[in-house]
Amino acid sequence: MSTGVLDPARVGQGSGDDTGPLAVRTDGLTKRFRSGQVAVDDLALRVPRGAVYGFLGPNGSGKTTTIRMLLGLVRPTGGQAWLLDQPMPDAGAAVLPRVGALVEGPAFHPYLSGRANLDRLAAVDATADPRTAARRRDEALERVGLGAAAEKRFRQYSLGMKQRLGLAAALLQPRELLVLDEPTNGLDPQGTREVRHLVRELADAGTTVLVSSHLLAEIEQVCTHVGIMSRGHLVLQGARSVLAERGQARVSVTTTTGHVGAAARVLRGLGLEEPVVDGLRLDAPVDGLAPEDVSAALVRADVPVVGFEVRRPSLEQVFVELTGEGFDVAR
């Protein structure tokens, strides 16, 4: 197993396995509701600083409850959580000003305009400088593309505009950490692209982003790290590139008539499993072998290579492989 993967089974107890400073860390974080239902069970989250952490899982898997515990909205029944190296919820007053959050959809006063709603949030922020409030508010509105609709009442906003206003609220102050719960919910494809772009831009500026979604495809491209929740458990977490390698890559070689046998011999000679032959195409897993070594060996053996393809499983396939469960199939 690759060293880059943080297997929850190994790091769950908060050992020294952490690689570098963390923006979010939880140890044994558990939430048992009064009904007895365990929403989050023994969670060991590791979000490195500077990462874009995709927090994935089907609806109801415990993502939102985890985020609420991280932000001090819900009291854990067990375990601990740290944001930016400070314990939550005790250090909320010191930490939360450095954290922007969008929790379970935007929520604002419907009878106030977008601008007035942001002014309200700026006014209640004890750490915000009132002299720069107007400038920061206008910048945030421009950044999410709501500059023209700032005077409209929130009630009249479309779902996408509401989501954007939520993002603007999270961006009212410069943040070290952004926690975005389902930020693409209700956005059209163009809006989703814009959010991805925004996340990447913020990450490039050094902000750590924890972004949750039940739709893997929407955020997979921007993530550097991934954590996957299933039924209250964190079933997998780590750097995306490492995780992707966790599933077996396969190489597929297409040659010309008469060379199939030779190609199979080369592959066998490299120690690969018996390739599956389909016409002129050979297919074999490449355990621990670089794909370029495979292609070089074929060329050395004078096997004509018409096509050469390395297929890595997607995160979704990894997830299905690990849990036997797919993402929200209805979508």
Binding site: R68, V74, E104, A107, H109, Y111, R120, A126, A205, T207
Partner: protein
């Protein structure tokens, strides 16, 4: 150097933060259309009452009515007291129940509560500000009745020297001070109900439930106050001392009675504020 790395150390609290929070809350509550409609509704009571008394002043109905209603035609300043008396059993508790029951539950049901808390606003501080705003609204409600009552009373019937309950007459200036005392006493008498409403408001995410519970509490208290079998607990009831505002219109107000009534309100405020605080600072915000 990246953006995030430039921010080292804990954020600092800007001076005047509490004042800004309070101003924002007051602007939100007192600028809200629903609350303005409620205030306007209360302010309409003295207008209607004054109009009805003005139109019937020369008929057999003149001089009739409970409390001070019968005295209004003789002296417009009594329209203030009569209107408060009319609003006290139901309309005033209703208005205050709506505003205080909505204080926390309204934000919870709109979802804005979670965003306030992650800004962050400390829960205790938020509760204090919500309580102050609800108190300010309660004060505004009583004041709305009083000011409109005074203006309408003066316009309809004129202002004259004030005849006290004991039959003694005091100059208008002294009488106005006494009626200001009535208004202040009634406003302070609402503080217990505000605290009760605030507590209910922390229990639920359904504001209508908290509002209804608050109003029902005031009404049940009023009903219990009329049952002779429960006379032992009457002095402790939320509404029992509300009508003691009459003390300001007796020849020598008994300050022990006034202090007793306010003391019971203070007891309700203390207990229910403490309950609201315990509930709100331990509750999971899951809306």
């Amino acid at each position: 150097m990246s953006h995030a790395e430039t921010m080292v150390g804990a954020p600092v609290q800007v001076r005047g933060a509490f004042g800004r929070l309070l101003r924002s809350e007051l602007r939100l509550q007192l600028g809200r259309r629903r609350n303005l409609v409620l205030l306007a509704g209360l302010a309409a009571v003295p207008l209607l009452l004054g109009l009805v008394l003005f139109l019937t002043r020369d008929t057999d109905l003149a001089g009739q009515g409970p409390g001070f209603v019968g005295k209004v035609t003789e002296n417009g300043i009594f329209l203030v007291v009569a209107s408060i008396f009319v609003c006290l059993p139901f309309l005033l508790p209703l208005t205050i129940g709506i505003a205080s029951g909505d204080a926390v539950a309204g934000e919870a049901s709109a979802g804005t509560l979670r965003y306030l808390l992650v800004v962050p606003v400390a829960r205790t501080r938020l509760l204090v500000v919500k309580a102050l705003a609800a108190l300010a609204f309660a004060g505004s409600a009583v004041l709305a009745i009083a000011v409109v009552g005074l203006v309408a009373g003066a316009a309809f019937f004129g202002l004259h020297d004030v005849v006290l309950l004991s039959g003694d007459t005091v100059p208008l200036g002294v009488g106005a001070v006494r009626i200001a005392g009535v208004v202040a006493y009634v406003a302070l008498s609402m503080t217990g109900l505000v605290a009760v409403g605030l507590f209910y408001s922390t229990l639920t995410e359904v504001p209508v439930g908290a509002m209804a519970a608050t109003v029902v509490t005031a009404i049940v208290s009023g009903v219990l106050d009329t049952l002779p079998a429960l006379s032992a607990i009457h002095p402790w009831l939320l509404t029992h001392h509300w009508l003691d505002f009459a003390e300001f219109l007796r020849i020598e107000p008994d300050w022990q009675v006034v202090a007793g009534g306010l003391g019971v309100q203070a007891a309700w405020v203390a207990v229910f504020s403490a309950l609201a605080w315990a509930r709100f600072t331990t509750a999971d915000v899951s809306s």
